[in-house]
Amino acid sequence: MANLQIREAIRDAMREEMERDERVFLMGEEVGHYQGAYKCSQGLLEQFGAKRVVDTPITETGFSGVGIGAAMVGLRPIIEFMTFNFSAVAFDQILNNASKIHHMTGGQFSVPIVFRGPNAAAHMLGSTHSQAFDGIYAHIPGLKVVSVATPYDAKGLLKSAIRDPNPVIFFESELMYAVRGEVPEEEYLIPIGEADIKRPGEQVTLITWGQSVPTSLEAAKLAEADGLDVEVIDLRTLRPLDEAAVIHSVKKTNRAVIAYHGWPYGGVGAELVDRIQRMAFDWLDAPVERVCYDDIPFSYAENLEHLSIPQPEDIYAACRKVAYR
């Protein structure tokens, strides 16, 4: 086992897949000479050359489109958004091209592409740079959407995403690139679409992903000290949802809390509520609770930002609430 940061796990995943398959290349702003704004592509330009590690001008629509076009020919592009906030200017490429081309060409073409980069709030970047796109991309049929929280998951899922014949949105986090964890030396893949129980428990199901995974684990500890046994499910994939894992747990605990980085209106959180109430209606002992962002653009000020992001105490409070404590 190696002890790696998430950024290193991501780099290793890309490196291994680039070694394995000539068709894989990485493209984005500052991914080459600069080694990535968050150093996720350290060393790749040196190893693979400028043909396969391609620095772009600031043209998110342009290089997303180039990636899509190259994928249609048969290449396997990895497109890095410096952050997903900048994917907003490329939204049409993802919505109208990446997600639809396989369908609208009657299956003649496919778009095996990965769009990856950090998503959601980091630390004091203000409203334009602190947005979670989970709800927006998970809404769109034709995409797969992944969100990772550990080096192990990051590597295994990114490798699967690169091999996937469909377009995959792959969420990372500026806040978590330095998070360390064990990663096997030997090759492994984690299938897209499978949730992971990060902490088993009996009394409350706490569903989470991305940045909220560590926070939820802390919340579960707070609850444990209080005698409340919380099961923490890391979704890992947001589309398709691992409905079975969620419903199985809720039928056991009869209560559910959803904790994540993202605005409250709609999105992945609301979708989970819908599925739970539909598929486990008779098992629910309390309304499902959600802990997520305030319904506002983010503030820069440290105290305001902190208040808008789910904290362990907030999540713990929600767990207590569904347990009627």
Partner: protein, 339 residues
């Protein structure tokens, strides 16, 4: 807008072409025109719905480009895409059935008029969001350069697509990375009901080529052989030097923007003037005046073509709708076992 001179001499590119190729090109252009007319009729009869953008008046471009192409070159186009398909060799039956929304359609009935794709024949779309195919076409060219497959990508856009951002970004990357792609603006003088001067700050669209570090060319359409010649030079540059080119072809559409457009915005006499330079008519004249063909011979060809399109109509009309479950097809490709 400059209006063509009805009495201009026949274009040299056309008069200097051989009889066989002239006849072939004439027939191909006619096939497109009759297809479009048949589709228009089907639309009026309620057999086709949605938007239907006809290529009538611009046929010489699609046909000329095809003449310049090699086997694995690509055409990427807009929603006004029937002409490219037929010129590329797509089956008229499948094209018509697509408009009818039938299972036998070019993409199985899911795409309709605006979303034609025919990979085996080199038709890579069929894009209906203005400008969003321009970077995609750059991506095809990027892949060609990456793979060394020697293919050239030809990407069509309208005069109305020049101001939008994705067009700019695609061309910026093509220029920066020296991609083997040719951007062909079919300037038919209107973007829906809006004439060029109300959508563009400058008249010459190729003035932008300098900013993209691209070669450029600009000409008023006369006939398919002119297009072959002019595109040919750009193709050579793309294939041999991996250099992109921006080409503006001045042309005119004889019909409205789509079936719902009565085209009231045209100036008086404008349509007639352009009609007088219709490449199909000019080709017919050359075939008769220069290659000694008779009116009857040419009419016989027309009859054949009309018959082909009538048959396509019947084929489309009699084809089954897609299976209800088909709507869930081609959304997600299953992950192969080994991955």
């Amino acid at each position: 807008m400059e209006i063509p001179d009805k009495n201009a001499p026949l274009p040299e590119t056309l008069t200097s072409a051989g009889k066989d190729e002239t006849l072939k090109a004439f027939r191909e252009m006619l096939r497109i025109r009759r297809f479009e007319e048949t589709a228009a009729r089907a639309y009026t009869r309620g057999k086709i719905s949605g938007f239907l953008h006809l290529y009538i008046g611009q046929e010489a471009i699609a046909v000329g480009v095809k003449l310049a192409m090699q086997a694995n070159d690509r055409v990427v186009g807009t929603y006004r895409d029937h002409g490219y398909a037929l010129a590329q060799g797509s089956d008229a039956n499948a094209c018509m059935a697509e408009l009818f929304g039938k299972a036998t359609g070019l993409v199985g009935g899911v795409g309709g008029s605006m979303h034609y794709f025919d990979r085996p024949n080199g038709l890579w779309g069929g894009y209906a969001i203005i400008g969003n195919h321009v970077p995609v076409a750059a991506g095809h060219a990027f892949a060609s350069k990456y793979l060394g497959d020697d293919a050239v990508t030809m990407c069509f856009l309208g005069d109305g697509a020049v101001g939008i951002g994705p067009t700019h970004e695609g061309m910026t990357l093509a220029g920066l990375w020296d991609l083997p792609v040719i951007y062909i603006v079919e300037n038919n003088r209107y973007s829906m009901g809006t004439p060029l001067e109300r959508t563009l700050p400058t008249e010459d669209i190729t003035a932008r080529a300098a900013g993209y570090g691209m070669a450029r060319d600009r000409f008023e359409l006369t006939d398919p052989f002119q297009v072959r010649e002019r595109i040919g030079a750009a193709m050579k540059r793309a294939r041999e030097e991996s250099q992109p080119t921006l080409i503006e072809i001045l042309t005119y559409r004889f019909r409205g923007h789509s079936m719902s457009d009565p085209a009231k915005y045209r100036a008086k006499g404008e349509l007639e003037a352009f009609r007088s330079r219709d490449a199909i008519e000019l080709s017919r004249r050359v075939l008769m005046e220069q290659h000694g063909m008779s009116e009857d011979e040419l009419d016989a060809i027309d009859d054949e073509v009309i018959e082909e399109m009538d048959a396509a109509y019947t084929f489309a009309d009699e084809s089954p709708q897609p299976d209800p479950e088909h709507r869930f097809k081609n959304i997600m490709i299953p992950v192969p076992e080994e991955a």
